[in-house]
Symmetry: C2
Subunit: 322 residues, 2 copies
């Protein structure tokens, strides 16, 4: 008997989130024997609610891109939301599907009126798009950049409109699903870049998180070499962050990522110091390593507030397995 796991994502079928979770389940032995069913939601809020109410088992969501940075709205939803049961991180997956400029068969860049994608994806491709599809300007000529919620939705829209003057940036999964093709470009110089969006957008990797209900997620195990993520607040004074990092450094625990987040409260008083909360990723998990548990205890001692986002295994995309 094969068990079925239902994973929700935001946007339409064929989005990078859906492609990522399919790659994760196809490529990693840990997920063998699970039949995967993906379920589309319109908004992140609806997606997270569906996990809380067990309409789906887990959610997949992008959290950081190597070019365009952290997706702050997701991080804030996880750290600042007090809704229970809480969601926590069940796994991390680093995934890369090359961006493609797609359209209906016969579409060309010179005939393009609009190019549609996720806002982070449009930002990642800004230089390339400036070169092949100059922006809409005040005279009304040029090509508009249109934001939608996911790359899947962008591809779905091009198919639904059935309009060759509307292009999108999405991956080959979306191209296959919606019958879109890489768009022919009109100059020799552009032709060299025909199927893949060049400049630096090819080095765009995205960290995705699988999110699950805190009370339903399986505890991480030592052999999974877990990573733990925290949101925390300290007093805003010299040395506060140094004390937090001491908790890890004194125990030889590697800190992977640290990021300041402007405090929601302080932004209402712009004349006061612009204060920050912290987001931190470090190696290990308190449940499997006593020194990590002690480090976390000390972090709580030196912070005014700590939210543990989860301890979870990490997976990377292996093109050979896909």
């Amino acid at each position: 008997m094969t068990s079925v796991i239902r994973i929700g994502f935001t946007g339409a079928v064929g989005s990078y989130s859906e492609a990522a979770v399919r790659a994760l389940y196809a490529g990693h032995a840990a997920f063998k024997g699970c039949a995967l069913e993906t379920v589309s939601f319109e908004t992140d809020h609806q997606l997270f609610e569906a996990v809380r109410s067990q309409k789906v088992d887990q959610a997949i969501t992008p959290i950081e891109n190597s070019l365009s940075g952290t997706l702050h709205e997701i991080l804030s939803a996880l750290i600042d939301t007090r809704d229970v049961p809480r969601l926590c991180i069940a796994a991390e997956f680093i995934f890369h599907e090359p961006h493609q400029l797609l359209g209906l068969p016969g579409a060309t860049t010179s005939g393009a009126r609009q190019v549609v994608s996720h806002d982070h994806v449009l930002a990642q491709c800004d230089e390339y798009l400036d070169a092949v599809l100059p922006k809409h300007n005040a005279s009304g000529s040029g090509c508009q950049r249109v934001m939608v919620s996911s790359t899947g939705e962008a591809a779905e829209l091009v198919r639904a409109l059935n309009d060759k003057s509307v292009l999108c940036v999405a991956g080959h999964t979306a191209a296959a699903i919606y019958g879109l093709v890489p768009v022919a470009v009109d100059t020799d110089e552009q032709r060299a870049q025909q199927t893949r969006i060049e400049t630096h957008a090819d080095s765009s990797f995205t960290r995705f998180w699988l999110l699950a209900r805190e009370d339903l997620v399986a505890p991480v195990e030592r052999h999974q070499e877990p990573k733990t993520s925290l949101g925390l607040r300290t007093q805003n004074r010299p040395g506060a962050l140094h004390r937090i990092l001491s908790c890890f450094a004194l125990r030889n625990i590697n800190v992977y990522k640290i990021e300041s987040r402007p405090q929601p409260r302080s932004i209402l008083r712009p004349h006061a110091a612009w204060s920050y909360d912290m987001y931190i990723d470090f190696e290990g998990a308190p449940s499997v390593d006593a020194s990590v548990a002690r480090a976390l205890d000390n972090v709580r001692e030196f912070s005014t507030e700590v939210v543990v986002l989860g301890s979870y295994p990490r997976y990377v995309f292996d093109e050979q397995l896909w």
Copy 2:
């Protein structure tokens, strides 16, 4: 005799960047006696080149928003670019102009086909826009979100198209320049939000930087209570970041902001650890405080690469003076 200072910005007249620099020069005694001339550029690259070649004296650019986070493309351009003369930070300014939903006189939300703005601004207003202007969907109904380079450009476009079905999100400066008005909404519930974009977008504050050629910027002075910003790279091992922060903590120097940035080189090897560079803001300046100079010396000792982005005074927007 009044000296004239020329400040470049990206986008069209009336953008938040231009409004910010006008507020800075109007509201702060340090700039009295300078006649301000603002100059528009199409791209950040052109803007920075204009400062290098002295076509303008300085550039103003947004660097961080309290809701949508760091503008990574600007930070990367400053840290990773080896073009000389280098640009450095001459001042920081925290500014807030409330977002408004604008259109031609007589425009309504029910007749709206497109809403145009900067991608960060559209992201900050996402919830509000979902409520009053549901997104374009695959059936072709709804309102498109269109990205342009600045809020000024968005307002200019609405004016140039002279089309009541195209709205924009921009500030009152842009509204005044392009003859746009707050858009009437069509339900009682929406009417309560009529002129200002509510939800949390009203608590959106943006940090702007004035950038100048390193060899032409005036040294910061002690009474300006300066802040210093660094980009740096350390060895990826436990305690590396802790040692960096020790340099400040042992001397009682406050660290304001710290942020990991995925390393450009490491993203080409996704199977290796996802490695990060660091961006750090701290109080003081090495040129006016010996203990800050010693801290910076030690940071260099414990890093593989350090880029000093500048030591600079900080200003905040005072609505009373504007």
